[in-house]
Symmetry: C2
Subunit: 389 residues, 2 copies
């Protein structure tokens, strides 16, 4: 049904890694791809022309947040998300599951759906597979996600119980979804447990979704557990469909996940840390609020082609960050997103050249990750999911 | 001495109104001109490319704020303000006098200068005519302002006392200023008192500055008092020098002041109110946070050529403002500054055509000013001057 609107073509493989294109009604997504997050139909501090400039070819918007504010029906009356936010490239919406299950004691799940209280005004709402399909079809992204339950990836008993529900919900979403110009992706769950992931991959493969996400990762497990889960899950997913690792966006995780066969990513990390002064370079992150940059005349990253690096010094940016100027948040966001897109361009080139293993080793040897950064990331993540930050 | 770097040419006059060009080392300023305010070497939410796009041909930066943070010496080591902030067009700096005198009980004036406490950390500092010239010459704008005292415009006794000091400070600034590639402007004071303004205009004209500001207005007097003061002051200023009304930027005030012979303006108003959701149209201001715009598919202003109006609906912008998205502040700022620059373009065309009186009547008949807006403006102004907002 969706074949006239969507196509997935793998151009080259290098080990488990693929160089591919997923074609959508709003243009092709060159993969491996990274999607900046535009929670409220807006990538914070940016405009559509900025997203084009940094090279984004897919963005994500959040169903939970848009359902609450301004409402999917209002957005539908504006002609859908693309017209509402004036972005004519591909859009993906999540299902809201992750946000709702992050609400902890403010939500209650049953087999039919999940009842929750709004983080904005405490009002009560309910999501079911059918209602979420109605919302996502009203929003009108190119790619929609099924409603799933997102358990703690380390809790075996909860994952067993939730998996059955997630699978029934996937079937119901598949049945309720009717837009031919929107691709509905399934989501494999099962925490860090290889047998549950295998069971989930097998069940969902049968439903023949046009794409598959690996959900429930990067929310508490170690990086090693995440990579091991990808090692067992990716080979069990259909070869002829894109594979999407949800909520992952640390450069080192992207490099490792692509190595294991993932094609798509989304994450608030590059945009969120940019607003805090933390910017990516090939050697790792630097925080421009640090006093050592006060008299630094160099750009954020030598050789970067983004507007920020082509125009301003670290010293000027530090001044703006320290003074609380909004422009700093924007200039940092532009750099971090361009960094991510350059990373994806390098990844795609390496796969096409058959040199991905070498690229991976080189990147990881150069890019420094501090423990402090890792801890901060995981703490901030759950909080931010709810607040929409 | 500054003749090789600066030139003032009047192309047309229409009553008291002039169409002119002031040439600076960083390009021509087409007058009448409006300067957006970039307090901390940055027009809030924008970048140099945005300023070019909206048509700004002069921007203002604040000496008081930059002296405190990041410091004029640091900026000098970066090659001055133009290089530091990557704006290669004309820049004007005020003298810091207005900010310091807005500090109320946190400053103490004597004949030699003024001692004040920083609004950031309470530390004690001192400005004298000579130290301010040192700071402004280090910052390196195209136009610098003399240090003046800014009394309550309605307080006759204080204005009399302050005027003598302001005049001595003007002489000392003139003597201390040595940069040939920087034009130092004098500032006429005297509150709303015609005889004091006449005395000030006469004294400063003798010092032969390359430009003259009318200071101490739009800070508490009525609009009628402001216009009456311009009526008596403008004719007493040299015909062959630009005339600058400091801190004025309400569209109706600009139209009235140009009518009376003013050539230059600066104001935080368009950028500050934009961050609050208040946007200009030819009919007056609208506040996009208002519920009536939720389903409005029209642009902010029909016929406006700014990026915001060309790209987004009022409904989308309202959503961004209500959700607290930074992008809204920026899109509003772009529109308000483009509105101001379009106004200045229309003013310049009307003067050139000899139709300024008709333009003025038409504009004022269409543009609605509410009392609420006026009161809000004056309250916000003093506060904002100190906080640098």
């Amino acid at each position: 049904m969706t074949q006239q609107f969507f196509n997935f073509a793998v151009h080259a493989t290098d080990g488990n890694t693929r160089r591919s294109t997923f074609t959508t009604p709003h243009g092709p997504i060159e993969m491996p791809a990274f999607a900046p997050v535009g929670t409220l139909a807006n990538v914070k501090t940016l405009e559509p022309r900025d997203l084009r400039e940094v090279g984004a070819n897919l963005i994500l918007a959040n169903t939970y947040h848009l359902y609450l504010r301004p409402g999917h029906e209002l957005i539908e009356r504006f002609g859908g998300l693309h017209k509402f936010m004036a972005w004519d490239g591909p859009i993906l919406t999540d299902s809201g599951g992750y946000q709702v299950f992050s609400l902890a004691d403010q939500r209650k799940v049953d087999d039919d759906g999940v009842t929750f209280r709004s983080h904005i005004d405490g009002s009560t709402h309910r999501f079911s597979p059918e209602s979420v399909m109605e919302i996502e079809q009203a929003l009108g992204p190119d790619i929609a996600m099924v409603l799933d339950e997102c358990p703690d990836p380390l809790d075996r008993a909860y994952n067993e119980e939730a998996l059955a529900r997630t699978h029934r919900w996937a079937e119901r979403c598949r049945a309720a979804h009717t837009r031919p110009d929107q691709a509905l992706f399934g989501i494999v769950q099962g925490g860090v447990f290889a047998d549950l992931r295998a069971q989930s991959a097998a069940f969902l493969s049968e439903l023949d979704f046009p794409g598959y996400a690996v959900g429930g990762l990067a929310v508490g497990e170690t990086k090693e557990q995440m990579y091991a889960t990808l090692d067992v899950t990716c080979p069990l997913l259909p070869q002829d469909k894109p594979r999407y690792l949800m909520g992952v966006g640390a450069p080192e995780d992207i490099v490792e996940a692509v190595y294991r066969g993932i094609d798509m990513f989304d994450c608030v990390l590059p945009t969120r840390i940019a607003r805090n002064g933390s910017l990516f370079t090939a050697e790792g992150r630097i925080n421009l609020r640090n006093a050592r940059f006060a008299e630094d005349h160099a750009p954020v990253e030598e050789g970067c082609d983004c507007y920020t690096c082509q125009t301003f010094s670290r010293g000027y940016l530090r001044h703006l960050y320290k003074a609380g100027e909004i422009t700093a948040l924007r200039l940092g966001t532009i750099h971090n997103l361009r960094f991510m897109e350059r990373l994806m361009e390098q990844i795609r080139a390496a796969v096409a050249d058959g040199t991905y293993a070498a690229f991976r080793s080189e990147f990881l040897a150069r890019f420094t990750i501090t423990d402090q950064v890792k801890r901060h990331e995981q703490r901030a993540k759950r909080k931010a999911a709810i607040a929409g930050k």
